[in-house]
Structure formats: C-alpha cells, structure tokens
Point group: C2
Chain length 248, copies 2
C-alpha cells in the first residue's frame, strides 16, 4: 500500500531548487557542524536556505545554532521558524529532550510525516543534516524525495573512511548524485583520503583542519563562521556547490 | 509470535559471567576504541574475555585489533576465533565490506541470528561494542539478553553529552544497570561532564585525555594499550569493573 502522505512530499519540496543531504558513514565526524556552517554560509551569500535536521540518532543543529525557544507555526502544515536567517526545521521540535528509541519503522513514519507536513518557502537550497550511516532514514529519503544530492563528511581516520566507502557504494548503486567528500578534522598533510576518494570516482572537495575552537563556537553562529572549520567550509564547500549552481 | 531463536540466546550466554555493553549516545566518541581496549586489558589481567562487535552502523573493532583473515568455525553454531587472546565475533564476518543498508527489522533479525548461533566459551566478561544511540539493536538486546550492564562513553562536547542524557533516561526507564560514564577526548580540566553525570545519578568513572597517538595505534593492540587512552582505560574502567567484580 502506498502511504497517501508520500504523494504530497515532492509537492512540498517543489519550490526548492536544490536539496543537499550532508551525510557521513559514522557519527562524530562533524557532519552537523559542516551542515550548519554550509547552510549559514549560503544564506549569508544571499541565497534562500532551509536547514532540516533529520539526524534521528540525536538532532544537534538547534544547539549549534542556539535556536532558542522558537517553534514551527501551524498553517496547513508546519511553517519552519526563521533562525539565523535560515528556514529551520528539526526533529527536536517533535521529540524534545525525551529519549527517542525509535524502531526503524518509526523512523520511516516520522520521516514521512515530517516531509509531508513541513511548508518550506521558495528556497535555493535545502540542507539536510542526515543521520550517520545507511539505515532506514537514508533509504526512505532516497525513495521519497526526487533529486537529492549528497555531500559526504569524513575524517582522516581509517575507521571513518571505511564506512564512507560503504555509503558511497550504496549511493552509487542507487544512482544518487554525490557532490563530493569533505575531509574534516585533518591533522596533517596526508593525502590518503584524497587518493581514496578519487579512487571511488568522487570529487575530493577539500580538507578542513582540526580546530579546537569549534567546540567553543557551538551556539554562536558568527563565531562558528570565523573558526578554521567555518572559513574552510565556506571556501571549499560553498565554491564547489555554487560553481555547480551557476554552471547549471 | 515468539521467534524460536530467542529461547536459545540466554542458553548461549549462560556460561558468561558478566556482559558489558559499551555504548554511546552518538558516534565518533571513541566507543569502539574503549570497548576494544577494555576487552584487551581484562584479558591481559587473566580474565576470559569475549569481544562482540554489534555496531550495525559500521563494525570497526576488527580494524582496531588487526584481526586479519581469521573466521568463525562452524560447530553446532559458530565458534568465535581467538584474536589477541579474545574470543572475537563481529558483524563483519557476515556483512564483509559490503554496504549494509539494514532496515530496522533486518537489524533485529541479524541481531537475533548472531546471538543465537554464536558459541561463546566460558567467559568472565563479554564486552559488546554497541551501535551508537538507542535504536533497534539496543532495544532488542535489552529485551533478549538477561543481566546486561552498560558502560557509557561520551566526549566533553555538549553535542555528545546531550545524547547521553537521552540514553541514560531510556536505560533507567528500562531498569538496566549502568556501570558509569567515561569521558573520552578530554581537552581541559573542566568538570562539567562529571557534574552532569552525577546529576543523572550515575558514576563518573573518569576522563581520558585527548590523544593524537590513538589513530596511529589502530591495528596495533600492544601500542594501543600504551597510549594515553590505553593506559587510562586500563586504570579507570578496569578498576571500576574489577572492584565491582571482586565485591560481588
């Protein structure tokens, strides 16, 4: 049986020009930081940007943004509040600070519900903070949403990159476009992630140096954009995305 | 309907004295490193130890241990190979390096299958490397396995500790024993994780200093045990567990 809500999802997203899912093989690689920084940076360049936190393993972008007590408004669905110039929507508006021991089937249901009720405006970009790995949420998003592009975050650690390979294999099998790979928390000049990324046939977008100051910038978007991570993401990711954008 | 395999699971684990699930709210906090180090350290103190990698988001302990090409043996089920003095079993023996986009229901099935076919010997400790978060695998493990204790790994990051709170709330609701919280990748002397942990009514086991050398020790267990992480886990975690062990 087709869930009647699925038919409205692409209608809901029809005014969004590009959907970028920021993804990682495993957690703890800075995916949420990169997604938030990317969304902020695009917005500050004058684009209309939405940020959608779908990290079912623990939404965190509201903490990074210091989103405060804003809430979506009900208006034939839910209208995302504006946070730091972004149209912002997060799982946290539904689960709050309660534990969310969601079974896979519940993740699917919640994802479909959120996608079908959220009333995004006209957007140049919708940046999605995905859950790490390749579980129900990724499979459903790929199934439900047309024209989604993936941006992959990893670290130099072999433990992280191993999981990236698996994710890339899956995305290739599913014929999903991958913008490229960002190497976060880079501690030296090693080019092994670049080499491995190119072996996978993907674009190595660039390396973000390890930056102790990032933790202190949580909750302070202006400060975040000025960290090494903030500056590098603006330079490398933004250019990779905007160049492609303008070429289109 | 009760899955007939579930009835054999506790029989399979009946010769194991204590089961310690090393868990985290989010990924990337060093959970697999702590689990592996803990198992190695217990084994080197003369305990009989099993290590079971059930991290469905990406098993990694085989890389940390440099487990090589050993495989479980079929013998009325699967007998774990011995790796570095540990009885060792991992998801990786089933999924290999393929992408494993497991839906929740498949995670449940795989977990039940693995628990019901693995022939552990007589063990003092079975250390389980859990998937991060509180998804299907955690819910099933708690449902299926008697007397499992949780050891929680976090980092000082508020993003990590937020997820720990949720996990602890869930474990408390489920009345699961929690040995305590280890704070990994500690960069300064801040005691906020200790304070927050104690507010949750849990034992703060100790802090593990951030250690750049840990990455280089991946694949080299002897070197791993000599890193700051290795030494600290041996001191703090081992003592917390063995003291309890001897008091029993």
């Amino acid at each position: 049986m087709v869930d009647p809500r699925t038919s409205v999802i692409n209608e809901r997203l029809s005014r969004t020009r590009r959907i970028i899912a920021v993804s990682s093989g495993k957690g703890g690689v800075g995916k949420s930081m990169v997604a938030t920084t990317l969304a902020l940076a695009l917005a500050r360049r004058g684009c209309k940007v939405g940020l959608f936190d779908l990290d079912f393993t623990g939404p965190s972008t509201h903490i990074i943004l210091n989103a405060g007590k804003v809430l979506p408004m009900e208006e034939k669905g839910l209208v995302p509040p504006t946070v730091q110039g972004l149209e912002y929507m997060s799982l946290v508006y539904f689960v709050g600070d309660n534990p969310t021991p969601l079974r896979g089937i519940d993740v699917s249901n919640a994802l479909i519900e959120l996608l079908s009720i959220t009333q995004w405006g006209t957007l140049d970009f919708l940046v999605i903070d995905m859950p790490p790995g390749i579980g129900d949420a990724v499979l459903d998003l790929v199934r439900l949403v047309k024209s989604i592009e993936f941006l992959i975050v990893t670290t130099p650690s072999p433990l992280a990159f191993e999981t990236v390979k698996k994710q890339v294999n899956l995305l290739c099998e599913l014929k999903m476009p991958v913008i490229g790979v960002i190497e976060n928390m880079k501690m030296d000049q090693s080019n092994s992630v670049r080499v491995e990324t190119e072996k996978l046939g993907l674009k190595y977008i660039g390396g973000v140096p390890f930056d102790l100051n990032v933790e202190d910038a949580i909750g302070n978007p202006d400060k975040l954009l000025k960290t090494k991570l903030g500056k590098t993401v603006q330079k490398i990711a933004l250019n990779a995305i905007l160049v492609e954008h303008e070429v289109e």
